[in-house]
Symmetry: C2
Subunit: 159 residues, 2 copies
Amino acid sequence: MITEKDISFLQQAVDLAIDGLKHGKGGPFGCIIVKNEKIIGKGSNSVISNTDPTAHAEIVAIRDACKHLGTYQLDGCVLYSSCEPCPMCLGAIYWARPERVCYAATRFTAADAGFDDEFIYKEIDLNQDKRKIPFEFYHEERFLAPFLLWKQQDEKKLY
Amino acid sequence: MITEKDISFLQQAVDLAIDGLKHGKGGPFGCIIVKNEKIIGKGSNSVISNTDPTAHAEIVAIRDACKHLGTYQLDGCVLYSSCEPCPMCLGAIYWARPERVCYAATRFTAADAGFDDEFIYKEIDLNQDKRKIPFEFYHEERFLAPFLLWKQQDEKKLY
């Protein structure tokens, strides 16, 4: 259920998208993260200004919020994005584990503006050799060494 | 086609995974990025040491390579990962656009070690209200403002 407060926070994410665009940071995307009705992280897409393809609004906001909280988990937080998260950002959200996500435009609107979000969603389900960027799996027993070492550790910090 | 050189680079990604684990950086994952047979970026999973849920090996390596090259695109590069990229890292790879990806263990091996990669792949295809983290779409006309501004720009830098 979207509330009046949610809508106000969505507007703030949209404002960040506009602000980032006006300052030449990157694409037209903004994100804020809220805990107990207080903004604890925010970001505009900064791919161009940071020369960093991972600097989407959600990633920037998640890193900002985690820095603020001193943790790698966003328990009890809500993430507001000006647009539906791409697969990279969806993955980042799942690793950060906020309570819920609200967004104000879809991947199809992003596609219409020239962005690859919807294209990448489609690529995920293809056989790896059919993808535009081929993914190749090669295995030898010795390549399991990191997992064996991990399993032997007494105190594992899962994330 | 996996070559002897690919296998050697995969071993180096695996070595980074072990090294990161031994230094308490995070999970058992490593990644290197190669251009013209030279390593131009590398990373170990650093979620714990950086308190950053986005600091997977591939993301760290992509950011490192882009810093090295001074660009947000990895044309002509090969990404070697000790394990199959999760959806976040797959997305990051598509935005960075290397030539190909090679990896040395699967998402199922990661799942067996307690990691969510395979779980997140499954969540993507669910209806948004069925996901463990609910995604909610709410739209008003005014929320399209960033895209309208984007379309009006003469010089768009796509990424």
